[in-house]
């Protein structure tokens, strides 16, 4: 339960964890914070973290709002594969960049629309509804690529993955841009409030006149779009589409990033920036373990350990032992049952 305790105290676990992981990386690898400029593009381990973390960060942006509505989208990895397959195949067939981008983003939107309709209109539980596309999506991607790993040589498309804008790598630029657009879309309008209201209590929200089906469809559509952008970046980066492995298991990293960012799986209050921080924590750990020369097997275990710590710091049970923010009450405080009045109350 996220009681809205505003202020920096609430975000401390996330930022603290990010700083701690970065510092740990620095201890293992003293050059970690070194950044150099080469051929008009920034290089360095820190840049690498942000750059490599971009796809999961993008997924986390869309996933945050889905989770805020008390849903989850398991299909984002498969949607990445679809959008990547569409982009690579069309580029190979000679289409120009605008058409390629439009088509693969449209594919992502369509996937999101499908998920949203299943959840909002047919009222299928989100985990099941999106599982369908998680399974079928890879099949669709393979159909698009005809079972091959499709490579391309278009420098225009490759720029999205490997290029830079004002010395900043393109994936980072795109992530920041999408984060800004999304934040503007939900916080400069009433969408954010409605998403949170629907996630906390769908019945009450509908009763207040909130168009709950449209809100639900919208968050899944946006999540599909974010996944398509992430898919484009991965495809552009490797200059090819691998329908089997593009975005594989990334939906789990994205969910983890959102949860680490403090958005509850029970829906409600969400923080987009914190989800991106969550994604960066995960990527910083990946990078750190690679740099340290440990076997990659350690990666998973160390990752699990750090995540456990972050989640424990947010857990209501543990928070009981820490100083409480004002306005929050101890968890498990029991309210007395409502006194019966229906038959009573003498005039």
């Amino acid at each position: 339960m996220t009681l809205s305790a505003p202020g920096p105290a609430r975000n401390l676990p996330q930022y603290g964890a990010l700083v701690a992981v970065l510092l740990a990386n620095w201890l293992l690898f003293p050059d970690f914070f070194a950044i150099r400029l080469q051929d008009g593009r920034l290089f360095g381990s820190l840049i690498d973290v942000v750059n490599r973390g971009a796809p999961v960060a993008l997924l986390a942006i869309g996933m945050t709002m889905v989770i805020a509505t008390r849903g989850v989208d398991l299909s984002v990895g498969a949607v990445m594969a679809i959008s990547g397959a569409v982009a690579a195949t069309m580029t190979g067939a000679g289409w120009g960049l605008p058409a390629v981008l439009a088509a693969s983003l449209a594919a992502g939107l369509l996937c999101g629309l499908w998920n949203g309709l299943l959840v909002a209109v047919l009222r299928i539980q989100p985990i099941i509804a999106t599982l369908i596309l998680m399974v079928a999506g890879r099949g669709i991607a393979q159909l698009v690529t005809e079972g091959q790993i499709v490579t391309f040589t278009s420098p225009a498309l490759a720029f999205i993955g490997g290029g830079s804008f004002l010395t900043v790598p393109m994936p980072v630029v795109i992530t920041i841009a999408l984060l800004a657009v999304t934040a503007l879309l939900v916080r400069a309008t009433a969408l954010g409030l409605m998403i949170e209201a629907v996630g906390i209590n769908r019945l009450s929200s509908a009763g207040a006149g909130v168009n709950t089906p449209v809100i639900l469809v919208a968050v899944y559509v946006w999540c599909g779009l974010c996944a398509a952008v992430a898919g484009l970046i991965v495809t552009a980066d490797i200059r090819g589409a691998d329908a089997n492995n593009a975005g594989l298991w990334l939906e789990l990293d994205a969910i983890l990033a959102v949860v680490v960012g403090g958005t509850s799986l029970l829906g409600g209050r969400f923080g987009l920036v914190l989800s991106v921080v969550g994604a960066l924590i995960i990527q910083a750990m990946n990078t750190g373990i690679l740099l340290s020369g440990f076997k990659p097997e350690f990666n998973l275990i160390v990752k699990a350990g750090v995540l456990l710590v972050v989640l424990l710091l947010q857990s209501p049970t543990l928070t009981l032992f820490l100083p409480r923010p004002k306005g929050a009450r101890p968890m498990g405080a029991v309210k007395p049952p409502v006194a019966p009045t229906s038959g009573g109350a003498k005039p």
């Binding site: 809205s4 409030l193 906390i200 009450s204 509908a206």
Partner: protein
């Protein structure tokens, strides 16, 4: 307190001075209840009367604080449902508590399957299952999953299971709530058969007709206390309703006088013709004029809440038509109603009203924001103005507008919900039990507010169990019974006695005036 007719010998079940409190709220206060062999005994009372607490204490779900429970003269204190079953007390709830995915036979023998060589003897189980169901007139495929049968059949199976586990006392907790007339008849036949076998049945229901059809005796509880025990044959309906509602039938103290003639000449704001929904509420006609308060009165389960839910589009009517300002409208959902200028404070505040983790401010502006659409956000400053205005106006007790609404008391949550709708300046405000479960102070404030609102020309449709309240502020009262609008009282006709008489009357559709 109890009836003068003394039991012939040791009663089957004798409860004396039963008390139970929850965190300071006295749910049962020295209640007596006597069940004799071979009788069907109705346990009646409105919400919060203590019926379910009594049953749960009897079946071992709760432990009693005081009093005695004796089964055939022997004191018992079951510590759980299973122990109650061993003590021959069986319970069947409205929601059948069996397992729909298991077969009928498996359900009948759950936890006590006939065994052979350490394995379940399926053959014996099937044979015995068929034998058990035979007296109930059920010849069904006992290997089919329970969930495939109607609720009525499932209920009879649950009863058969309870009786087969040697129940002497059978508690039926609102078994007829989701049955149609024919299914009810079958259930009653089963109940009468069991009665003739000497089993004592406790029957909890909200349907008075059914009480008079099948019960021998009636015990009425109110606010956790015993009101009395009567023989059904000796208790006129009017007296029963008065016992349940606890009204000394006297003229109400004060009433706002609204000239009915003047108001009747106004064109209706909203008009419903033949509006209804199968298995929810029978088709009804209802006109609501600007500036008037229309109240819906009736016992629990009479269709009051169902009516207002249809009017607001929370449930979709499957017949009839609705017009607003003379134009036919479609009510596909609450959104349509909100756009028409309707507002609705539901009975179940927690489940359907508040958005718990959002702040008081966000809860108050939610409906207004929803009506404006997401593209036109209400600026933060304006939100704060609206919230602060209503917090002051309605005296909502909260340290500030940013507090999550779930941390407020029930009465203050209710006032915040009122504020949510008042902020939209509704034309028709629907309040379902606006004063339920809130303290006396807030209660009075909400009544004053209702009076002020109708003076301002807003139409109000109110559901309430508090008849004095209804009489105090309503110009028109629609009385409901058994999911049907049975009477309409206007102007000078509105009084507690007339409402009680209409609730109790047996003749259906006594249209007071056309």
């Amino acid at each position: 307190m109890t009836a003068s007719t003394a039991p012939p010998s040791t009663p089957l079940l004798a409860i004396r001075g039963l008390s139970k409190a929850f965190l300071g709220v006295q749910a049962l206060d020295g209640v007596d209840f006597t069940l004799r062999h071979g009788e069907i005994h109705a346990l009646l009372g409105e919400n919060g009367a203590g019926k379910s607490t009594l049953i749960k204490t009897l079946t071992g779900v709760y432990q009693r604080d005081g009093g005695t429970v004796a089964l055939e003269g022997r004191e018992i204190a079951p510590r759980g449902v299973e122990e109650a079953q061993r003590l021959h007390i069986g319970t069947v709830y409205q929601e059948v508590n069996l397992l729909p995915n298991l077969s009928v036979a498996e359900n009948l023998f759950l936890g006590r399957q006939p065994m052979r060589w350490g394995l379940v003897d399926r053959g014996a189980m099937r044979r015995r299952a068929r034998a058990i169901l035979m007296p109930y007139g059920l010849s069904i495929d006992v290997t089919a999953p329970l969930g495939r049968f109607s609720v009525a059949t499932q209920q009879i199976i649950a009863i058969a299971r309870a009786v087969d586990m040697s129940a002497k006392v059978l508690i039926l907790d609102e078994p007829t709530a989701s049955l149609d007339a024919q299914e009810v008849a079958v259930l009653f036949k089963v109940m009468r058969t069991l009665r003739s076998r000497g089993i004592g049945i406790v029957f909890v229901t909200h349907f008075l007709d059914q009480v008079y059809e099948v019960c021998d005796r009636i015990t009425v509880l109110r606010n956790g206390r015993l009101v009395g025990e009567r023989r059904t044959a000796e208790l006129p309906r009017l007296d029963l309703v008065a016992m349940m509602l606890g009204r000394e039938l006297e003229a109400a103290a004060h009433r706002i006088d609204l000239g009915p003639a003047e108001l009747d000449s106004r064109p209706p704001l909203a008009s419903f013709k033949g509006f209804g929904k199968a298995r929810s509420v029978e088709p009804f006609d209802l006109d609501i004029r600007p500036g008037e308060v229309v109240a819906l009165a009736g016992l629990l389960g009479s269709g009051r809440t169902e009516t207002v839910r249809l009017v607001f589009g929370m449930d979709r009517a499957d017949r009839g038509e609705a017009t607003v300002d003379g134009r036919t409208i479609r009510l596909k959902g609450p959104r349509d109603a909100v756009r028409l200028g309707f507002g609705f404070c539901p009975e179940d505040r927690k489940k359907e009203g508040i958005v718990g983790e959002l702040s008081v401010r966000e809860n108050i502006i939610l409906a207004l924001q929803a009506r404006q659409g997401w593209l036109k956000p209400i600026p933060r400053r304006r939100q704060e103005e609206i919230a602060d205005r209503f917090i002051r106006l309605l005296d909502i007790r909260t340290p500030d507008a940013e507090r999550p609404i779930q941390l407020l008391s029930g009465g203050n949550q209710q006032k915040a919900l009122l504020a949510r709708w008042l902020a939209t300046e509704p034309r028709l405000l629907i309040l379902d039990e606006p004063t339920r479960g809130i303290d006396v102070g807030a209660h009075a404030e909400i009544i004053r507010l209702i009076e002020r609102l109708c003076a301002d020309g807003m139409a109000l449709l109110v559901v309430s169990s508090e008849l004095e309240e209804i009489v105090a502020y309503s110009r028109r009262v629609v009385v409901l019974r058994d999911r049907r609008h049975v009477a309409e009282l206007r102007g000078g006709e509105v009084s507690v006695e007339r409402i009680v008489a209409a609730i109790a009357s047996e003749t259906p559709n006594m249209e007071v005036r056309q």
